[in-house]
């Protein structure tokens, strides 16, 4: 089965500055893909190019196997649901009328009918059944966000492209959204969701792509985005001697004491922070310390949070040139 979304060498420059810079991307069908990056990394530009709103400066995109060219009728987009930045509606119409008019605006007759037939279901999925007949003017930001999702779902899409879908939602709304996206992906929908918030992406996604300065700097399952090497917190009775002992062990780096002082010895409980790379392992570190006659009172693995990895990846030093 071919990829649901493809970008090849995708580049978009504005006045000589690249917003998207040679982006290569491929999203398999049925994947919940988290498109992660700080504001200004090029996420929205990429999504807009995929939807045929923006002309690429170079490279190409394919949606469901069909090349996307702005201004041309891209039939594959009928099978795509989208939320692009804020959800926008005709303010003078009710939520239901808005969906109805968007459904009727284009496409073959059976496609329109199918959308109109799904209207109530889509409103129910996002929990807007009761507010559907209110004018958009009276909607809160969260309600507009939900209606935006309902509009995206109306065509029973094979691909969902969602740009920051949790904006304006409260924590419960975010949790519901995450569950909904997971459910859709489990049902076979390809869900491509951008975010600058890690917590959302880390939990739910199958694959995370990290975008920085218009380039993909990392991609993989969230768990694999963690750095190689474990961190270990070790508390011993004599940290000064422990440092000396560990300095000779291959693959162990002991973090410098944040505030080394003459009275370091008076604080036997101050833990040491180790970074282990192969061949060092936690058990071996423990054995070495104990073998040297030190009393080890704590030895705890420290997981580096995805957030730290993310910041490392998108930080200046890590952007490939």
């Amino acid at each position: 089965m071919s990829a649901a979304l493809v970008a090849r060498g995708l580049t978009k420059t504005y006045g000589g500055v690249a917003a998207v810079d040679g982006l290569d991307l491929s999203v398999e069908p049925g994947t919940l893909y988290g498109f992660l990056g700080p504001n200004g990394a090029g996420k929205t530009t990429t999504i807009r190019i995929m939807l045929g709103l923006i002309h690429a400066s170079a490279g190409e995109v394919e949606v469901l196997g069909e090349p996307v060219t702005p201004g041309k009728g891209v039939a594959a987009l009928r099978r795509v649901g989208a939320l692009v930045e804020e959800p926008a509606f005709w303010r003078y119409l009710s939520g239901r009328k808005n969906l109805e008019y968007f459904a009727r605006a284009a496409g073959p007759a059976d496609d329109r009918r199918a959308r109109l037939g799904r209207l109530d279901e889509a409103l129910d999925v996002v929990g807007l059944g009761e507010a559907a007949d209110k004018k958009i003017k009276a909607y809160s930001q969260g309600m507009r966000q939900r209606l935006g999702i309902a509009r995206a779902l109306l065509g029973a899409p094979e691909v969902l492209l969602l740009d920051e879908p949790t904006n304006g939602l409260d924590p419960q709304g975010i949790a519901e959204m995450r569950a909904l996206l997971r459910r859709l992906a489990d049902g076979g929908t390809t869900v491509f969701v951008s975010s600058h918030l890690l917590a959302e992406v880390e939990v739910a996604c199958d694959v995370v792509g990290v975008l920085a300065r218009g380039r993909l700097v990392a991609e993989g399952p969230p768990s694999n985005l963690r750095p190689a090497g474990d961190r270990l917190r070790v508390t011993v009775d004599d940290p000064v001697r422990a440092r000396k002992v560990l300095a000779d062990v291959e693959g162990v780096i002991v973090a410098a004491d944040p505030a080394p002082g003459d009275d370091a010895g008076d604080l036997p409980a101050a833990p040491l922070h180790l970074t282990l790379t192969r061949p060092a392992r936690a058990a071996a570190v423990n054995a070495t310390l104990v073998g040297a006659g030190l009393a080890v009172s704590e030895l705890t693995p420290e997981h580096e949070r995805l957030e730290d990895v993310f910041l490392d990846l998108v930080g200046d030093d890590h952007v490939p040139r």
């Binding site: 003078y92 119409l93 605006a105």
Partner: protein, 265 residues
């Protein structure tokens, strides 16, 4: 897209307000004539003629709205058409539906022309009703002195209405083009009305006579010709040619701008 566009417009206050304002014009003319009748035998213009035959009331109203209120209507509808969707953000959601960009522009234009038809239709209908009830309908004297049967006169009134729509539809194409360039609906509306006003200023300057054949407003009131005997179609023919040229050129420009545009709004 056309039907959605038309459907949407009936949910807007603006549409109904325009209808009321435009419908009020012929009613006001008739009321004014009743309160302050012109002296008998005064001039041969439509307004005075209306007291002799109600059928002239809609024509008088058309002549009154054509220089300003109809261009304003065209400006309001066309200026907001693309820019308004862009600033509201609904443009991007229509385009990813996906509505083809050409279908979007042409659907918008078709809806505007239909609304302009309705605008002129309201003016003519209210004029006929108010004028007919107040002054009666009968055989219609032409501006040349002969008379027309009522049926013939209705037909020519219809022709005058359609001609008025064609004239202002040319301006609406200009407005649609301006609207494709900006995200400010009110700005595009003002610019479109300004185009109409500048056209009329240029049309009033006799030293710029060489320009006059190319101005929309030179031909706007040519439907008067339908109430001469025999009817001369020269001016109206030229008018329709110029209207069509404006519509074709500026719709073409709007389509080009839209197809090349990066939709960032």
């Amino acid at each position: 897209m056309f039907r959605v566009e038309l459907g949407k417009s009936f949910h807007r206050w603006r549409t109904w307000l325009l209808a009321v304002v435009l419908g009020a014009v012929p009613a006001l003319i008739v009321v004014a004539l009743v309160l302050n009748p012109p002296p008998p035998g005064a001039g041969g213009d439509f307004i005075s003629l209306a007291t002799r035959n109600g059928l002239f009331a809609p024509l008088a109203a058309l002549a009154v709205v054509q220089p300003f209120l109809l261009p304003l209507t065209a400006g309001l509808l066309s200026g907001d058409a693309i820019a308004g969707e862009a600033s509201a953000g609904t443009l991007r959601y229509l385009l990813v539906r996906p509505v083809r960009r050409s279908a979007f522009v042409l659907g918008k234009y078709a809806a505007i022309v239909v609304l302009l038809c309705s605008a002129v239709g309201i003016i003519v209908a209210v004029g006929l009703l108010a004028g007919g009830l107040t002054f009666g309908l009968g055989e219609v004297p032409t501006l040349s002195g002969s008379t027309l049967s009522l049926g013939e006169a209705f037909l020519r009134l219809l022709g005058a209405g359609l001609y008025a729509v064609a004239g202002v539809a040319g301006l609406a194409a200009v407005g649609l083009f301006i609207s494709s360039l900006t995200e400010s609906g009110p700005g595009a509306t003002v610019a479109t009305v300004a185009v109409a006003i500048i056209g009329q200023i240029l049309g009033a300057l006799s030293s710029l006579e060489f320009l006059h054949p190319y101005l929309l407003n030179t031909y706007w009131l040519a439907f008067f010709e339908l109430f001469r005997s025999p009817v001369s179609f020269d001016l109206m023919g030229q008018g329709l040619t110029v209207f069509a040229a404006y519509a074709a050129i500026f719709l073409g420009l709007a389509l080009t701008v839209m197809s090349r545009r990066d939709v960032l709004s």
